[in-house]
């Protein structure tokens, strides 16, 4: 007898931190207790992407999309949905049961998405190699081992036009071809899983939800370029992704899909994991290779490029997780298929981690050429709490802001560069009217200053100097000449820094200066912070016409800065006030204003 219902429970890091693991076990226990264990299969999958609403549980064949589920709900889900066939409406995303006989339709969050990289995330069990094999897994490897020549593989990638998803967008086929052409018996393949942009988690979710797709692609590359050893460099703070990779590698070895004489082809290949300690600079390829070798993670000048002299001086192909996750699909479906998706400049899809002041934060995969407006409003559901959209930061600490006027720019590598930002690895942080643009730029600069390895002076000294200037501006001590100085330092960092970390570190400042010059001016000239974020530039005041003298704020104020008699308007003593904002939160009459 087959299963009647399939229950898919999200096993991504986000949902697991909200107890999805307990939900998984509770569902299995309840199915057992209520005597339907033989009728339902409970499967722990990778990330569904709709993290805002997690933990997510999906029940098939009804396609019921349950959100914010708790372990305590397991009993009801089994008793009502599985046994009686009644959807548990209160847990459904749209709170209304599906109409019978209707074609299954995706909810709004998924409608404009196209999943290539995340194709298996949320649908298969990442810890079961059989499910990956069923989902056309290892078929591309078969093709490469038995039907295609290395030149065929490279030609297919060239037709596909796949560009590196780590941020720079270098054509993948060229990297592979350089390494392939090197005449050296020892070559290496490396997967860069050192994802470090604030707010970005595309690579983590891909590895957690579909680890075999990366293993398969790395093996394909090994065969193509003539390497027999691969390394996955992943940060130690991704324990779940590491666990899933280890399970996947063990299962692949048991099947002989890694190891000696793979599938009887005579080709030997294996992969090892190397853990990083979380230094941002180790996402830079030359620093990453240093770290694998056991040295301190510091970049080296290029050339020579890793493709000719990489790991231990041997020719090395190094690609990002998302790039790898595209490879098997391209081999299976053909380069032309891939090239038909996206824009002439950038083919295929891109995964973004949509976070910040947005209604539906989560992981989205869209065809290249989708506009930012579609991502923010159609998929992301717009700005949270009815606030006004201000900007989106793409490309993390190396990127820049995109404003309202550019929301309709189709997103691809070239398009983003033209408007002063960059693709980066795919972090997308949405800001609303309450965010101060100078403060945001300062945040990113502080991040890169912290993460700078200190090897070259432009990055080490330039970054710190920029930081000091921004600090000065947010303190209300800015001078008009500061803007010019920012431009000069930024220019020096761009041309003088050794690696991309330093070269791109000024980007957040430059792009915010370009799009929000009036906000810098307000800070420097008027000594005001328009969004009320910079504490030194604001003061809390009580509007006497609104204050009824209820004393609520005075009782809450931690420093006793508020005085006044009952039923008479109160006053804030600006010399004592620490601008914590508690009074504003407490006041029921909106009498407290920021000036």
């Amino acid at each position: 007898m087959g299963f009647r219902n399939y229950i898919l429970v999200c096993g991504g890091t986000g949902c697991e931190s909200s107890r999805s693991d307990q939900i998984y076990h509770a569902l299995i226990d309840e199915a057992e207790a209520q005597g339907v264990a033989d009728q339902v299969q409970v499967i722990k999958t990778g990330c569904f992407g709709f993290c805002e609403q997690g933990p997510i549980v999906k029940i098939l064949p009804e396609d019921s999309f349950y959100v914010q589920v708790k372990p305590e709900d397991a009993k009801e889900l089994i008793a009502e949905h599985v046994i009686k066939g009644r959807e548990v409406t209160r847990l459904l995303y749209n709170k209304a049961p599906r109409k019978a006989y209707e074609e299954v339709e995706d909810i709004g969050f998924y409608k404009k998405q196209q999943r290539i990289v995340l194709r298996n995330c949320g649908s298969i069990d990442p810890e079961n190699i059989d499910e990956y094999i069923a989902a056309v897994g290892y078929k591309a490897l078969e093709k490469v081992l038995f039907e295609m020549t290395p030149d065929d593989v490279i030609a297919e990638l060239k037709t596909a036009g796949l560009r590196g998803r780590g941020g720079a967008g270098f054509p993948t086929w060229m990297k592979w071809n350089f390494t392939k052409q090197e005449n050296n018996p020892v070559k290496y393949v490396v997967c860069n899983a050192d994802e470090g942009d604030p707010g970005a988690y595309m690579d983590r979710s891909t590895l957690e939800g579909d680890p075999h797709s990366v293993l398969e692609a790395m093996t394909i590359c090994g065969k193509t370029v003539g390497a027999h050893q691969g390394f996955i460099y992943i940060r130690a703070e991704y324990p779940l992704a590491i666990h899933r990779l280890e399970v996947a590698m063990k299962q692949a070895r048991e099947y002989g899909l890694l190891g000696k004489d793979i599938l009887g082809s005579g080709f030997d290949y294996d992969i090892e994991i190397r853990l990083g300690a979380g230094a941002f600079v180790c996402g830079e390829e030359t620093a990453l290779l240093q770290s694998i070798e056991g040295h301190r993670g510091m970049p080296k000048p290029r050339p020579p490029f890793p493709a000719s002299k990489g790991l231990w001086g041997k020719p090395t192909v190094i690609n990002n997780v998302e790039t790898w996750a595209n490879v098997a699909q391209i081999i299976n479906n053909g380069g032309e298929w891939f090239a038909s998706i996206g824009t002439p400049d950038s083919h295929g899809t891109k995964v973004f981690a949509l976070t910040g002041k947005i209604c539906n934060s989560g992981l989205v995969e869209v065809p290249m050429g989708t506009t930012l407006r579609e991502i923010v409003y159609d998929i992301g559901g717009g700005i949270a709490h009815g606030k006004k959209f201000k900007a989106v930061q793409t490309g993390g600490p190396s990127g820049g802001v995109i404003t309202e006027e550019n929301l309709d720019t189709p997103i691809d590598f070239g398009g983003l560069q033209k408007i002063g930002s960059m693709m980066g690895s795919g972090g997308m942080i949405v800001m609303d009217e309450d965010d101060c643009i100078v403060d945001v730029a300062k945040f990113y600069l502080n991040f890169t200053v912290d993460e700078s390895c200190g090897k070259c002076a432009p990055c080490r000294i330039g970054g710190k100097s920029l930081c000091n200037i921004l600090e000065k501006i947010t303190q209300g001590k800015g001078e008009e000449k500061d803007i010019e100085q920012i431009q000069q330092i930024a220019h020096a960092m761009r041309i003088g820094s050794l690696c991309a970390l330093g070269q791109t570190a000024p980007n957040p400042v430059l792009s915010s200066l370009r799009y929000f010059p009036e906000e810098y001016e307000a800070h420097i000239v008027d000594k005001k912070c328009p969004s009320g974020k910079c504490k030194k530039l604001i003061s809390y005041e009580i509007n006497p016409s609104k204050c009824i003298g209820c004393t609520a704020c005075a009782r809450k104020c931690p420093v006793g800065a508020i005085s006044g008699e009952v039923k008479h308007p109160h006053k804030i003593n600006g010399n004592v006030c620490i601008k914590c904002g508690v009074c504003k939160e407490t006041c029921k009459f909106s009498a407290i204003e920021i000036h």
């Binding site: 007898m1 087959g2 299963f3 009647r4 399939y6 898919l8 098939l60 064949p61 009804e62 396609d63 046994i83 009686k84 066939g85 009644r86 019978a100 006989y101 074609e103 299954v104 649908s123 298969i124 059989d130 499910e131 094999i133 069923a134 989902a135 056309v136 897994g137 290892y138 078929k139 078969e142 038995f146 048991e254 099947y255 002989g256 899909l257 190891g259 000696k260 004489d261 793979i262 599938l263 009887g264 082809s265």
Partner: protein, 126 residues
């Protein structure tokens, strides 16, 4: 020596593919709904559901989706509704094991409505 030969990999794939396909519910046009309220279960709807599900699997009918619903009283239970783009909505009553076999082979597989099992739907107001 390779651990897994190419043909063994193909075997795993075709076996597992069938299982995975059952979870793919997009593009299935034929819906079967079994009324599984208390009265339905009392009348044997559980056996009806299992029979239909097993037969559908045995015959490999991939475009059929089987779901459950609440009570269909006051109709002669077990009640089974079949909806397909060709035949529209057809309701069957008193579907025992034998009837369930016929519905699957005649209606779901061959596309012929099983006229003698068909009933008119009565709503509670009537």
């Amino acid at each position: 020596m390779a651990k897994l030969s190419l043909s063994e990999l193909h075997e795993i794939r075709s076996r597992e593919e069938r299982n995975l396909k059952k979870r793919d519910i997009h593009g299935r046009s034929v819906h079967v709904v079994v009324a599984m309220g208390t009265s339905g279960i009392d009348a044997g709807a559980k056996l009806t559901l299992n029979t239909i599900a097993d037969d559908v699997e045995k015959l490999g009918l991939e475009n059929v989706i089987i779901t459950q619903t609440g009570s269909a009283a006051p109709n002669p239970e077990p009640v089974v509704e079949v909806y397909s783009p060709q035949s529209g909505l057809v309701v069957y009553g008193s579907v025992d094991k034998e009837a369930a076999h016929r519905i699957v082979s005649e209606h779901l597989r061959d596309g012929r409505i099983v006229d003698d099992l068909r009933i008119e739907i009565k709503t509670k107001e009537q």
